[in-house]
């Protein structure tokens, strides 16, 4: 369930993760998505290790099949992460794209 208050509170943390680079340590291709992601499937979700050692799970965007591999370099970007619900607040968040 999306909440405008929760989106507002969590969006303050997005900036800390922006513009970081890292490498893919595992990945999958989601073909049966949760309801709010239906219009994006199929899409890859990757586990990426950032330069500072922190690991994040994020959707991979602007990708080709060859990017789905161990060690692919990625960077964090801001995107609308899922379809907004009836309240209409756009849920922005972090995704990663190949460098």
């Amino acid at each position: 369930m999306q909440s405008p208050v929760k989106i507002w509170r969590n969006q303050k943390n997005i900036a800390q993760l922006l513009g970081k680079t890292g490498t893919i340590v595992s990945w999958t291709l989601i073909r049966v998505p949760p309801g709010d992601f239906m219009d994006q499937a199929p899409y890859p979700v990757v586990l990426a290790e950032l330069e500072d050692g922190k690991r994040i799970e994020a959707q991979l965007v602007d990708w080709k099949d060859t990017h789905l591999a161990f060690g692919t370099k990625v960077k964090t970007v801001i995107r609308c992460v899922m379809r907004p619900d009836a309240d209409g607040v756009i849920p922005y968040g972090i995704k990663v794209k190949p460098i």
Binding site: V25, T28, L29, V32, P33, G35, V45, R55, M82, I94
Partner: protein, 379 residues
Amino acid sequence: MHIYVTGAATTKFGELWSASPRGLARQAVFGALKDAGLEAKRVQALFVGNMLSGMLGGQEHLGAFFAEELGLTVPAFKIEGACASGGLAVHNAVNSLLSGQYETVVVLGIEKMTDHKPEDVATALMGAGSEDERLAGATFPGLYAMIARAHMQQFGTTEEDMAAVAVKNHYHATLNPNAQFHAEITVEAVMKSSKIADPLKLLDCSPISDGAAAIVLSTKRSPHSVEVAASVVATDTLGLAQRKSLTQLAATKQAAQKAYTLAGILPEDVDASEVHDCFTIAEILAAEDLGFFAKGNAAAAIRKGKTTLGTSTGVVLNPSGGLKGCGHPVGATGVKQIAELVEQLRGNAGKRQVHDARVGLAHNVGGSGATAVIHILKT
């Protein structure tokens, strides 16, 4: 003090559109009471293992809900721990007996999932993951797919190895009248099934299921009772990103080590084990993390039939058919595992009887490994 399972019952698992949660609960609980030879008025507390009644059914307050339905005006609790809700409910029930508060209690594990659309069930199940995983659009098949990918990279595990787990568990399920599936499958069929979250395919995944299971726990031994020799819970990070290793579940290892010590046994003493094969890769991880095989060796052993009824060389894994073959109504699974082991240790398991089973181990996992519950049962 010793704790005993004195009665157990499981409903049919499957797509039960004509069955209500109330009906499933009555069938499981009254079945377990009959098996124990116990009148309902002797029950002193009810523990309900369930995950999704609120998110899918809009019904919370399940302790009172089922106490009313069963005609039990006793203390009643809903215990939630994602897909480990059933095992956690059993653990809490055991603790309530050890505390001296009660002498006889009932544990009901129950879930009704097939009333709802797959996308809604997938969304609800992601309640077991982390917020970051939900925002990434991950699903549980997706999380286990990333575990599988790492295991394949590190140990050379193949998609065919994973498929062999589903083949074995479907075979076992053909011997279990209550199982959701009664059709044997082949490695080729698994490999050709539709992709869900690469490299996991439809037949690598446990199904969406309805069902219930119940057990009666007591501080007193009875003629057909089975002893609970250990009941242990461990936890780990909610999300995969914070884990040191993707190729083991630390909570499983930690809980298992403590459980073996409490029960005074070694992994090789276990005759039958119900492990949490929500996805085929999960059974491979479990077989290693529980100490049945060295890390990296379980996949080949399972594929060679070393854990299959009739050809096993040690422990038989998932004689019930496991989550894959028997079905996975998430809150019911942890209780069903124990009900299955009770039948095995009594020698009442019919065609799927593990020869001379004396020690059983139930392994129930919540989320992608954030909760692990281990129960060891002895004759």
